[in-house]
């Protein structure tokens, strides 16, 4: 075992980076940016091609404010402040509309697909029996 460890240490030496394992901390998931819809599921059926979802924008600004453009059904209607429950492992995205007393929290997922971070929000803006998944990708504007 000692020999193996010695070998491993030696063989890794030339690739050693500046960060040692005990200093490693998982990076925060940066969800700020401009998000556009790439996929919309209604009750587990893909309805993306059935209407034009392309103009909708969710702007999560680095300063903690957010805004919606070309509004679609969404957990909130007006601009306000956004935050996550845990910067490293966010499960909830909170929106507090300007002037509102409480925050609206939605469960999120943020898979990386083809090297790009995506953001998934599941919500029921109409009847509770209808579930929608919005899958966002970062937009250029």
């Amino acid at each position: 075992m000692a020999a193996l460890m010695g070998f491993a240490a030696t063989s890794c030496d030339s690739y050693k980076d500046n960060e040692t394992p005990d200093k490693f901390v998982e990076a925060d998931k940066d969800l700020s940016g401009v998000w556009s819809l790439t996929k919309v599921m209604r009750n587990n059926v893909d309805i993306t091609s059935t209407m034009d979802f392309s103009k909708f924008r969710l702007r999560l600004n680095p300063d903690g404010s957010y805004s919606l453009e070309n509004r679609l059904p969404f957990p909130v209607r007006h601009s306000g402040l956004w935050s996550v429950d845990d910067p490293a492992h966010p499960f909830m995205l909170s929106f507090t509309e300007d002037g509102a007393i409480g925050a609206m929290e939605v469960g999120i997922q943020y898979p990386i697909v083809n090297g790009m971070r995506q953001l998934s929000i599941t919500h029921s803006p109409g009847c509770g029996s209808n579930k929608y998944e919005y899958l966002f990708v970062k937009a250029n504007n």
Binding site: R42, I47, D52, L72, P73, R77, G126, C127, S129
Partner: protein, 349 residues
């Protein structure tokens, strides 16, 4: 376990040479007590109906093993029977006939033995479809007994399944399907070992909006069937339902008028891309459009749509498919020629 508590059989069994257990479905009762004291196959929206399925099983041969009763039902989707129905049963010769036995929805991970790869609802839809119904907004749901039972030769047990079923909030007429089988048989193609029957037309009344007759083809469907103004709602024109001139047109549009609880009326009848109906494939004349009602009708904040009247029409509006035409083509006698289709925006209970 005392022998008398072992069940002989009341379900279909795999037909293996000398082992048989033929299932019989002797009667189906769907009539409900009416306000005038009579019994009839109808119930008010949201109320709980009681259906009774009676039958027996003839067991012969050398069988001596356990089996599990399977019961399934075909009903309109808006009844949501997976969650709103709990079937129970009593059986003679086996479990104590006085005891009410329970059943649970079969998990989707369990396939019928003879239709691997299918869930039970998928297998039943594949095998039996909609029965005498023609409007494809129904679902099969299957339950299995919570207690396995013992099967062996010489039994002629009788069973009685009771279904307490809460009707949905939509006015409709549909033929309900009832199916009896066993896990060991698992939907063979031999109908001695399962039975399926359909009720006469069963009516749900007293709700808002038009009555949907599931036995008839229709020009229009809406999905999801329950929606509010912040849902995405898909309206479909099924141009092959009956003869019509609209399917000959190059472009087909949706026209609608939304009514709000606050008294507002909002009409969309331009020929924008938002209202252009897309043909779903080249094989059928089926066209659909998906809308966000609050956005499409530009409903002011604070108002809530309660219903949408709508028609399907061509570019210059000269050809219209509406409820009047739908009624006329399906054998009815509409009061006028210009009654639109109506979609009520409710979630129900």
């Amino acid at each position: 376990m005392k022998r008398r508590y072992k069940i002989y059989a009341f379900m279909a069994l795999a037909c293996i040479a000398f082992m048989t257990a033929c299932v019989f479905l002797d009667s189906l009762e769907v009539d409900q007590p009416q306000p005038d004291g009579t019994m009839a196959p109808r119930i008010k929206v949201g109320e709980t109906a009681t259906f009774t399925v009676k039958g027996h099983v003839d067991v012969s041969g050398d069988r001596d093993d356990a089996d599990i009763l399977v019961f399934a039902m075909l009903a309109p989707r808006n009844w949501n029977i997976r969650y709103n129905v709990v079937p129970t049963y009593h059986a003679t010769e086996s479990l104590d006939p006085e005891d009410e036995q329970t059943m649970s929805v079969i998990p989707d991970a369990s396939s019928p033995k003879n239709m691997p790869g299918y869930t039970w609802p998928e297998a039943l839809m594949e095998r039996f479809g909609l029965g005498p119904n023609r409007f494809n907004d129904m679902e099969w749901v299957a339950w299995q007994a919570d207690v396995p039972v013992w099967i062996y030769n010489g039994g002629h047990p009788h069973y009685e399944i009771t279904v307490k079923c809460k009707a949905g909030m939509e006015n409709l007429v549909a033929c309900l399907g009832f199916f009896v089988n066993g896990v060991a048989d698992g939907l063979t193609t031999d109908d001695r070992y399962y039975k399926v029957v359909y009720s006469d037309p069963f009516t749900v009344y007293g709700g808002v909006g038009e009555e949907v007759d599931y036995s008839k083809l229709r020009f229009n469907t809406v999905e999801p069937t329950r929606a509010l103004q912040d849902d995405f709602v898909t309206f479909t024109f099924s141009g092959d339902a009956y003869e019509n001139k609209l399917i000959e047109c190059e472009q087909i549009y949706f026209e609608g008028k939304a009514y709000t609880a606050e008294g507002g009326e909002y009409t969309v009848k331009d020929r924008s891309d938002d209202l252009l109906m897309k043909r779903e494939n080249t094989f059928t004349h089926s066209y659909s459009v998906t809308i966000w009602p609050a956005g499409l009708f530009n409903i002011p904040e604070g108002e809530t749509i309660t219903k949408i009247d709508y028609v399907f029409t061509n570019a210059d509006g000269s050809i219209v498919v509406n409820k009047s035409l739908d009624d006329k083509m399906s054998g009815g006698t509409p009061a006028s020629d210009d009654v639109p289709f109506t979609f009520n925006l409710v979630c129900g209970v």
